[in-house]
């Protein structure tokens, strides 16, 4: 039987990467002038996934695309391994609505679970191998179990002269077979290509400037567009003075649709200059909530509530507890901040559209573009071309919409390159959060009840069938997914922790089943979704990261309250064997010294030796999305007691994501996730004034540059065989902020509860400790 969780994971089309959307809201996605059309590619058929050419080369078609995470190389390894063909003879076509199956969105750490286990691409490759063996058996008159395969050649074990190539068996033809659920994957112990540190296929072209990004796409007769975004959030268009462009070279057209304003010109620089010169006046909308009091504002808004788990005895157990620990954690809006502002090319002519787009979601974006343009989905062809790394929904969909609108208006292909400010001021930001934690502790120091309550702002998201979910669609007059405040229903069905709203330490009991990673039976996890003033969307480890910062910091606070060692205290409250194993592995690799935090003399302003530098270590862990990757991290930091500056010296990460497809690729993801997490923890915060976002470039949004003192990163990979392969791209980043905060506490006794940990905030926290 397929559980709901398994079903959601393996049926690509149903995956929504932000899983807090209640089922009742989904019906809204079906509205619009045209219903979503299914792909014409039938994913139940082998030919949808694989073809073999006369020369024996293999082409595979995937709906999971390369965003910089290495999945292109890993999928190439997968197909080469299953079919026993050389790596170099496998070619992958990614996310093209004309030829690839609809696998929804490349997001949510689902590419590996979807394509590397027992369905989709892996099943296709296994089915093809089995089919080729059957064809060879007939051709060679040798039973299939007496055949062997190497380098795309099938031969008889007993007589190697009896042989036939894949090309000769099916070359350029079709298999005409359904995927076979019973087709067997190649056993792990026979792997020679999967599981190896195969270098990235795209690296030489990237390192030599030959790689084609979407920014480099040029099509015949193409023009260039630029957009003019509103002067402030919520502003509406008053006037556009086309006369202001008089005398500017190359201007082709000014395009206005509701609050969407763009210009088309012959060349990119001309388009950019025209967008700067165009005189546009706007009428301000209501002012933005004050950033200074924003977290209190969040708590006061109408909310859509959800209970992840509720044992209904939390208050009672709190009242009986020997002591209660409480804390509140704050996390700001953060941005994807891609290196390259987003870019797309659209060709909309004769009622048909072709979009060259860096989108994560070829098919959902096809449907969104169709609605935006008022043409049926089957008239829209979305071709994925790689953009700058996105880390979630950056401007890729918005710019695809921009290009589509401008191309439709001029009847020629249009390329749109957003500016840095266009990208940053109008992103779907990662969610801001306020999280209250409360724990009851018994006389033995054991946590007997955990109460979690969170508020976060959300608006818009992925395009799907709602063009208004992305900025351009909203500006063009479409509405975002509706927001309806609602009371929480009691939890029912299976415990789902996809957003890591529940800490790893609770039992996660709903009905008779307890599917959490921990032991605390008295548990309540309540979330309040409120309407954000800004557009939001998945940003690497969406909600999981914010929730985990609060959980893992708070567990440390409780451990310190009972004077317990942070590692031992975690292990004491966990039940999940895999999570316990990574905690123990990280502690061992870091040579963790068992003792409570803070360190002796930590709270002394000058330290035992009068030193300005305080050193400390902290740990954090998570079962990502409850069951999609297990990771623990030990951070070692030095805190400057005078300036409040944090220097991270060492990060030790232990990770178990099932069988490892490419260990070097996994290490690359761990290292990148760890440092991106560090940048987000130490400096990244979207800022705004009463009208508009003021984080509009790299001076006003702070990303750690290449020159910062990079910590030593040590990765311990637990290559677990015989279990499903899990996501590995969002694990490490999820636990960085808590590991750092816990290390700072160990060093100084000061507790950081608000991200980012700027030097001023660290100093303020240290002052609180110094004052008795």
């Amino acid at each position: 039987m397929v559980s709901r969780r398994d079903f959601l994971k393996t049926s690509g089309a149903l995956i929504v990467s932000f899983s807090a959307v209640p089922a009742g809201e989904r019906s809204a996605f079906a509205q619009g002038p045209f219903a979503t059309r299914p792909s014409q590619i039938d994913p139940t058929q082998l030919d949808a996934w694989l073809s073999v050419a006369n020369d024996g080369s293999v082409t595979a078609y995937t709906g999971k695309c390369e965003l910089g995470q290495g999945i292109l190389t890993a999928q190439t390894q997968l197909v080469a391994e299953e079919l026993s063909v050389p790596f170099a003879r496998v070619h992958i076509i990614q996310c093209d609505t004309a030829v690839t199956p609809d696998q929804g969105t490349t997001s949510g750490s689902q590419s590996t679970p979807t394509n590397f286990n027992d369905g989709s691409l892996a099943l296709a490759a296994a089915t093809a191998r089995q089919a080729l063996l059957a064809l060879a058996s007939t051709r060679l008159s040798v039973p299939a179990d007496q055949l062997t395969i190497a380098d795309g050649i099938i031969s008889a074990r007993s007589d190697p002269s009896k042989r036939v190539t894949y090309g000769a068996l099916v070359g350029n033809g079709k298999f005409l077979l359904p995927l076979d659920r019973a087709a067997k994957r190649k056993p792990h112990d026979e792997w020679t290509i999967l599981g190896r540190p195969v270098p990235r296929v795209d690296m030489p072209a990237m390192a030599t400037g030959q790689f084609e990004y979407v920014h480099n796409v040029r099509v015949p007769n193409m023009l260039h567009g630029a957009v003019v975004r509103p002067s402030s959030a919520g502003a509406t268009l008053a006037t556009v003075d086309e006369g202001s462009l008089a005398g500017l070279a190359g201007v082709v057209k000014v395009v206005v649709k509701n609050n969407f304003v763009g210009v088309v010109a012959a060349r990119p620089w001309q388009a950019m200059q025209a967008a700067n010169a165009l005189k546009v006046t706007w009428t301000d909308g209501p002012p933005l909530p004050s950033q200074a009091s924003f977290y209190n504002w969040l708590r006061a808004q109408p909310a859509r509530d959800a209970l992840v788990v509720n044992s209904k005895d939390v208050d009672e157990n709190m009242s009986k507890a020997a002591s209660i620990v409480k804390a509140t954690y704050l996390h700001p809006y953060q941005m994807h901040g891609s290196m390259g502002p987003s870019c797309a090319v659209a060709d909309v002519q004769g009622g048909k559209a072709t979009i060259w787009s860096p989108t994560q979601s070829a098919y959902p974006t096809r449907n969104g573009v169709a609605q935006l343009l008022g043409i049926p989905p089957e008239s829209v062809h979305v071709i994925f071309v790689r953009g700058s790394g996105c880390y979630g929904i950056n401007g890729a969909d918005t710019v695809s919409f921009d290009a589509a609108l401008l191309s439709q208006a001029v009847g020629r292909p249009v390329r749109v390159q957003l500016t840095r400010k266009d990208e940053m001021a109008w992103e779907n930001y990662g969610f801001a959060y306020v999280i209250d934690q409360r724990a009851g502790v018994d006389a033995n120091g054991t946590i007997v009840a955990w109460d979690h309550e969170a508020w976060f702002g959300s608006r818009g998201g992925r395009p799907g069938n709602m063009p208004g979910n992305v900025v351009t669609g909203m500006l063009a007059g479409f509405t975002a997914a509706p927001f309806r405040p609602a009371q929480a229903a009691e939890p029912s069905g299976a415990f789902r922790n996809g957003s890591n709203a529940a800490p790893s330490y609770v039992a996660g009991r709903i009905g008779r089943e307890a599917d959490g990673a921990g032991t605390i039976a008295s548990e309540r996890v309540l979330t309040h979704t409120v309407q954000s003033p800004f557009f939001t969307g998945p940003l690497r480890s969406p909600s999981r990261l914010q929730n985990t910062f609060a959980h893992e910091s708070f567990l440390d606070e409780v451990a310190a309250h009972v004077k317990a060692d942070p590692v031992a205290y975690r292990l004491r409250h966990l039940s999940d064997a895999r999570l316990k194993e990574v905690v123990a592995a990280a502690a061992k690799a870091a040579n963790w010294q068992t003792r409570p935090s803070p360190a002796a003399n930590a709270s002394s302003r000058t330290g035992a030796s009068g030193a300005q530098a305080a050193t400390g270590r902290g740990i954090a862990c998570v079962a990502y999305e409850g069951d999609n990757g297990y990771v623990a991290m030990v951070a070692e930091v030095v805190v400057n007691r005078t300036s409040g500056a944090i220097t991270t010296k060492r990060l030790v990460v232990a990770q178990d994501c099932g069988p490892v497809s490419n260990p070097n690729g996994m290490r690359n993801q761990i290292e990148g996730g760890a440092l991106q997490g560090l940048s987000r923890a130490l400096g990244e915060e979207v800022t705004w004034d009463d009208r508009k976002v003021t984080s509009i470039d790299w001076r006003t949004y702070h990303s750690l540059p290449l020159g910062f003192e990079v910590p030593v990163i040590e990765s311990v990979l637990i290559d677990r065989v015989g279990v499903p392969a899990l996501g590995a791209g969002e694990t490490a980043i999820t636990i960085v902020a808590a590991a750092i905060a816990n290390a700072v506490f160990d060093a100084t006794g000061a507790r950081l509860r608000q991200v980012p940990f700027t030097a001023d905030r660290v100093k303020a926290a240290m002052d609180l400790v110094a004052r008795p």
């Binding site: 690296m203 390192a207 400037g209 920014h215 700058s388 290292e671 020159g707």
Partner: protein, 153 residues
């Protein structure tokens, strides 16, 4: 518009452009080069970096007229996938990228610095890279690749 002549990756190129137009647009639009990238247009991130006379400059804020007649080298001017330059080889060997969009600025900034100061310390290399961003945060591998190149020259 006016005719401006540049020597790009060893080839003389004459383009008819506005003199104030940033060099980046000439390279990516008129000459269809893929190495230099538009990252911010503000000289803040390094993605648009090119070498002019061996020095790393930010082409997004450099009017093309100011480099007329100069020798400009872009990332594709260093080496090819088949015959990469040693610093490109170092990045390939270290698998030092994720999305790769920043690689242009990282490699060219590092090359210009290390070529001038072959015995640079780790701290000096970090200082030289302090104005370059990578949002995938492949920093650790990139610094290893730069150190590897520094040892070779």
């Amino acid at each position: 518009m006016s005719n401006i002549t540049l020597i790009v990756n060893g080839r003389q190129q004459t383009v008819d452009v506005e003199p104030a137009m940033p060099l980046l647009y000439v390279l990516t639009d008129d000459l269809a080069l893929r190495g230099p990238k538009f990252g911010c247009g503000l000289g803040q991130c390094g993605a648009c970096t090119v070498l002019v006379g061996g020095r790393a400059i930010r082409s997004c804020v450099t009017p093309v007229s100011t480099v007329a007649g100069a020798e400009v080298t872009t990332l594709e001017g260093l080496g090819t996938p088949e015959r990469p330059h040693p610093i490109q080889q170092a990045f390939i060997d270290e698998q030092a990228a994720q999305c790769g969009f920043c690689l242009n600025g990282v490699i060219l900034t590092a090359k210009a610095f290390v070529d001038q100061r072959p015995r640079a310390t780790e701290a000096e290399i970090q200082q030289a890279m302090s104005g370059v961003l990578c949002r995938c945060f492949s920093h650790a591998r990139m610094l290893r690749a730069i150190a590897r190149y520094a040892q070779e020259v």
